[in-house]
Every structure is written in structure tokens, then in C-alpha cells.
């Protein structure tokens, strides 16, 4: 019995963190958020094997598990790193592994070496806003997908109203892609409009689509755990250093207790994330329920930590100088994306037929 990370998993996180420490310092986060190019970062991550993590060794990948993928997502969140991770490294490869051989042959290699990336049009699976939704007919898509992750990527994995999955090339006829600016400038988010757009069927199995949605949600959770831990660490370090009234502010109970509350809420999220990620591959009967509860619970804790850690910093926490807000906004993004807490809790209730 061993519910913890292996030494290989710790080493994986160390190597991704080392790379991101160099590539994604605060200046780099600011530059990317102001519209700079992040391709080099993604290329570097792909060279580390991040884009081929979930592909079996027999197919040229690293052959690791969903938990390993979540651990990488945690590193990305901790660094507020850009990159089309969830679509390119998690959902598209898993979808292609179950798809027709011709499709797999054509795209898997390019995804793994990072030369092609994939966006994710899954938002409507968690509940369509306004009149969003995509229909498929005779291999062509029509309609609109909102809040797409990485909408300008060369490939798009699109879920339809029937919960079938399609692969669309960004150059396809009848596809309009545009970026929507959000609070989180470290992520690319946007909208796809389809008009008789040619698409390749990846899967017509709604169960498979649901499993991939679980994967994507758990990756967002991992990102929040990483980002929230970063904010908590920053708050504790600041409170030990900043002096007011001739004392470090971390010696005041009001400040200490805020930090203790953050740690007390966040620490169980780590075990919850591990379990939810492990369940994706190993405990299929529990996977959806734990993914929903983990998505909702960690979103609530993340929001609490984001707000509280900012508050511990006082005025400087509110400024761009320190840049804490990039993590605040990242956590805010992860909360709404692919199902806000109220929506996934309702799904959790239904999964138990309550």
C-alpha cells in the first residue's frame, strides 16, 4: 500500500520545475502576458517529454500515467507557465490513441515533438453558455464553441452536442477562430465558429468523451494546486520578511492564522488531486465523481488562497510590481473553465443519482 509519489515522480517534477525556473521567471510571465511569444517554452517542454508523457512507449511516447500528467500540470500552475498543455499533451493524444489508425499516424508524432499543438473545445460539455454548441452532420461541423483553450492551435479537439469528438484543422474551410481576452493573460482562450467545416471523427462514444473531460478537469485542478501553493509560499515568505510596528508581520496572530488557514485548506487538496488523477487510469468506477468533487473543492480552496495570500501581502499584493495577480487570475480561470463549482457539484449529485 503506497499512496504517495514515487521517486521517479518527484524527479519528474524536479526536472520540469528546473526548466520552468529558468524559462518562466516573473519577467517572462509578464512578457508573455503582454503578448509575447511562448513557443520556445512549449518546445522546451516538449523536448523534456512533456508532450508525449501519456503516449505508450511502443508508440514513441514516455508511457506515464494521468497522475504524472497532473504533476506536470501542477508545475505549470506554480510557474503560471503558458503553453497548450491540456489539449496538446493530454486530451488530443488520448483521443488519438483511441481513434482510427490513419488519424493517429498523421498527428500523434507531430503532437509529441511539439511541432503541432492542439486546442480544446470542451466548454459546452460542462454547460453551454448563451447559444453555444456544435452539431455534426455528414462529417461537417456547424455552430459555435466558446471558451476554447488554445483556439489558434493547428488542431482542435471539438466536442459536439451529442458528446462525439471531432478533430478539426485550423486551416479548414468554414472555420473562424478568434482569441477572447480574459483576466488570465497566461492562457490563450477563444471562440470557434463552424460553418459546414470538414472534420474527422475521433470518437462517437459519449463515455469516452466524458472520460477525457474528467482528465481535462483534473489537469485544471493540478494547475490550481500548483498556483495556490505558489501564492501561499509567497505569502509566508513575505510575512516573515515585512516589518510593521517594529515586528515582522508574520509574528501577528491575525496574519499567522490566515497563513495557517490557507495551509489547512490546501494540504488535503494535494491528496485529493493525487487520488482523482490516479482514479482516471486505475479506478474507472470512481473517476468521474472524484473528478467533479475535486474540481469543485479545489476551486473553492484555490479562490480562498488566492484572495487571502494577496491580502497577506497588503498593498503590494495588489500591484503589478510583485505580479502575484497572474496566479490569482490563473486560479480564477481554472475555477470557471470546464465547469464552475456549482455546475460540477450538481453533476456529482447526479452521478450518485441523488
Amino acid at each position: 500500500m503506497d499512496f504517495g509519489l514515487s521517486s521517479d515522480q518527484v524527479a519528474l517534477q524536479d526536472s520540469v520545475n528546473r526548466f520552468l525556473d529558468e524559462q518562466m521567471n516573473l519577467d517572462a510571465v509578464k512578457a508573455y502576458s503582454a503578448g509575447g511569444d511562448a513557443d520556445a517554452c512549449w518546445q522546451g517542454l516538449a523536448e523534456l517529454g512533456v508532450a508525449s508523457l501519456l503516449v505508450p512507449e511502443a508508440q514513441g511516447g514516455v508511457g506515464l500515467s494521468a497522475l504524472d500528467a497532473a504533476l506536470v500540470a501542477e508545475c505549470l500552475g506554480a510557474h503560471a507557465a503558458p503553453g497548450p498543455y491540456i489539449g496538446s499533451a493530454v486530451v488530443a493524444p488520448l483521443a488519438l490513441l483511441h481513434a482510427r489508425e490513419a488519424l493517429r499516424e498523421r498527428w500523434l508524432g507531430a503532437l509529441m515533438d511539439g511541432t503541432v499543438s492542439a486546442g480544446l473545445a470542451f466548454s459546452e460539455l460542462a454547460g453551454a453558455r448563451a447559444d453555444a454548441g456544435v452539431n455534426a452532420s455528414n462529417g461537417k461541423l456547424s455552430g459555435r464553441a466558446m471558451f476554447v483553450l488554445d483556439p489558434l492551435a493547428a488542431l482542435q479537439v471539438v466536442a459536439t452536442r451529442e458528446k462525439h469528438l471531432y478533430l478539426v484543422e485550423s486551416a479548414a474551410a468554414g472555420l473562424e477562430s478568434r482569441v477572447l481576452t480574459t483576466i488570465d493573460r497566461t492562457r490563450a482562450c477563444g471562440e470557434l465558429r463552424f460553418s459546414e467545416t470538414p472534420a474527422e471523427l475521433l470518437s462517437d462514444d459519449p463515455q469516452h468523451t466524458a472520460a477525457l473531460l474528467d482528465h481535462a478537469r483534473v489537469m485544471l485542478v493540478a494547475d490550481t494546486v500548483g498556483a495556490a501553493q505558489h501564492m501561499l509560499d509567497a505569502a509566508v515568505a513575505y510575512a516573515k520578511d515585512r516589518k510593521q510596528f517594529n515586528r515582522v508581520i508574520g509574528s501577528f496572530q491575525s496574519v499567522k492564522h490566515l497563513c495557517a488557514e490557507m495551509a489547512a485548506e490546501l494540504e488535503p487538496c494535494r491528496a485529493m488531486l493525487w487520488y482523482a488523477a490516479y482514479a482516471l487510469g486505475e479506478l474507472p468506477a470512481e473517476a468521474s465523481l472524484t473528478a467533479c468533487h475535486t474540481k469543485a473543492h479545489v476551486a473553492e480552496v484555490g479562490t480562498f488562497v488566492a484572495r487571502t495570500a494577496t491580502e497577506v501581502h497588503g498593498g503590494v499584493g495588489f500591484t503589478d510590481l510583485l505580479g502575484l495577480h497572474y496566479w490569482f487570475k490563473r486560479i480564477g480561470f481554472n475555477r470557471q473553465a470546464l465547469g464552475a463549482p456549482e455546475l460540477v457539484r450538481e453533476q456529482a449529485a447526479r452521478l450518485q443519482t441523488l
Partner: protein, 400 residues
Amino acid sequence: MDLSFGPEYEDFRQQVRSFLEARGDEAPASQRDYRSAKALAWQQTLIAHGYTARTIPKAYGGHGAEPDILKSRIISDEFSRARVSGGFGGQGIAMLVPTLLELGTEAQKSEIIPPTLSGELIWCQGYSEPEAGSDLASLRTSAVLDGDEWVINGNKIWTSTAQIADWMFCLVRTEPDAPKHEGISFLLLRMDTPGIDVRPLLDMTENANFNEVFFTDVRVPAGQIVGKRGQGWQVANAILGHERELLGDPNVALTRLNSLIELMRNETVDGTPVIDMPAYRDRLMRIQGRVMAMRFNDLRLLSARVNQQPAPLARMIVKLQGTELRHELEQLAIDAMGEFGLAYGDNDYLRDNGLWQWNYMYYLGLIIGGGTSQIQKNIISERGLGMPKEPKYSATGGAA
């Protein structure tokens, strides 16, 4: 990552289940059913099968098995699943026996542990005092050596089971001139010693779950000290952390959550089950998510124990998070019942015998007892996050 316990343990789980099926009806209804012949016999049966006092040496009345964390967990899981009493709890077995095993003399071990395990001796714990709550080390109850006897004066509070206990283990000040943590000793005393007065302390549940105990020139043989003079603080702290973890046990919360789901299916407003009403339903799912988080945290702690890995922060937060969660769970049940949730005592409309209302109040006591939530936050921030300690103040009120 490997969540299976392995075949040896699954066999063991089957053994426990078979035992519970065959003999479970011999158990008393409650762990608090002290003294009854049924409870005493059940305790003997459990010790003989190794389901309680499992790792305590046979010479001291235990079962004498090698320590095995997973087997112990399987036993407690299966007994709670079957809702069968796992034997006497209480502070004698949970707190004193492990302390004596670690720090007692041979005579103390062989005389005290066997009748404590069998249920023959019931213990109470004399730690807190009216002026020594969160700041326990400032306790004032004094013991002065007079010949070969300690003479004790002072009073204790929050002493559960004092009204039925045969013995007390307590902290007293024996070295009044030493710094406060170094002037305390750990004594054992008989509750029928002249000069002891036990007064029940009525609490908000309308029960006396606790007592006050007053000592007037109570004379105790000098040998009834555990550890050396002035080392009582270390003796007591050897096992305090364990008590805190038990108070936040998420497996208890899971049992209550399942009852809450039943309750919310049965309670209706204008004919609609409460569980179908979005606001209540969302609160239920929120609580369920939090219970899940604490269960996985608990699984991490179990694994850390088995594999001898540290998980200090994950352990430190259990009392704070677990007791707050349990209280909020009961609060949701009260809200789900609405006005029925106000019923208490003799009322025809009482649900589940008033357990929700009782727990709602009693669990507030758990948030305060065993180190308040505020003390837990001090511990987490200082020991878990390395933040500065509270400044020390002198007795005259100024910062030292």
C-alpha cells in the same frame, strides 16, 4: 501509487468480517457502556482475537501481536462499517496505557495495564484547570511531598468520566520555582481518596459530559508518579498529538454524511424532498467534497505511517479541519430539518433521537477541546510554516 493492501491483508479483512458476522451480536450497543457484564465479556473476546489491545504484550493483558498499521486500520474500518463496538475506548486505554508502556515502571505496567485493558479500572484525565486552558502549562494544582506521600490541592475542569472513574492520571505542579514547563509532574491517584470532590458540569447539550474535580489535602503514595519529578509535561505530550488526530477522524464524518443524505431524502418542504432543492443540495455536495478531501488526506497519512515517510503538515491540520467539518455537517442537518431541527428532548417530532442537535452542540465542544482551533492555527503556522512564535509575556504583563 498502489492503493491495494495486498492478498495477506484481504484475507485478514475477510477474517474480521467473518468474526463480526458470527459474533457481532454479542457486542454492547455503545462503547460507553462501561461496567456491564456484556461489555466486559465483549472486551475479553476482542482481546483474545486481537481486535483490541492488539499490540500490547500478553504479560500486560494484551493480545501480544506485532504492530501492523494496516491490520489495525482494517480492524477499525470493519468494526465501524458493521457498526459494532470495537471495545472500550476512554482515556485510560487510549492515553494512559501507551504512556505507561513508554515511560512507566515495571510495577506500574504490570499492576495497572491489565485491569485497565479488561475494563475493570476506569480512568479520567486531570489536565485542564479553570486558569489553565489553552495555556495548559500554567496549571496550578499543587502537589507537595510530605514524607512518602504527595499532598494535592487545587482543582481540575473538563474531566470527562470523573463521576464513574476509579482512578485519575493528572498533571500537578511539584516544582513551584522551576520554569512553568519544567515544574510539572504526572501522578496517578485513586478517585476514592479522601479529599476529592467531583461536581458534574452541566453543558449546552443539557447533559453533564464533563466534571469539575476539587482536591483538598489529597494524600497519594509518592511512588504513583510516572516519569521523574518535573518531567510531567514531556510525559503528557508523548501522546497528545494522537488524541488530536482522533478528534478529527474523517471516517466518522463519512458515517455522518451517509446519515445526512438519508435525512435529506426524507425531509420535505411543501412535499419536495430537501435533497432535490438546489440550495440544500449544493451545500450537501460541498460537504461531501470536503469529507472526500479529508478522507484522501487520511489515506495519505496512513500510507506515510506504513512507509515511514514524514507528512507533518498533512497531520497537523487534521484536528482543525476535521472538527470544523463535523460541526458544519451537523449544522446542515439542522437547516435541512428547519423548525424540526429545533426539537430537543421530549418532543414527538424528534428525528434520529435528537442526535443531530446533540452532535451540533457537542462538536462545537470538540472544536474547543483538545487544543482550540486558534491554538491549532498557532501550531500550524509556527511548526508547519516556520512562522515566528508568539512573543512571551512576563507574569506582570509586560513583554519579556
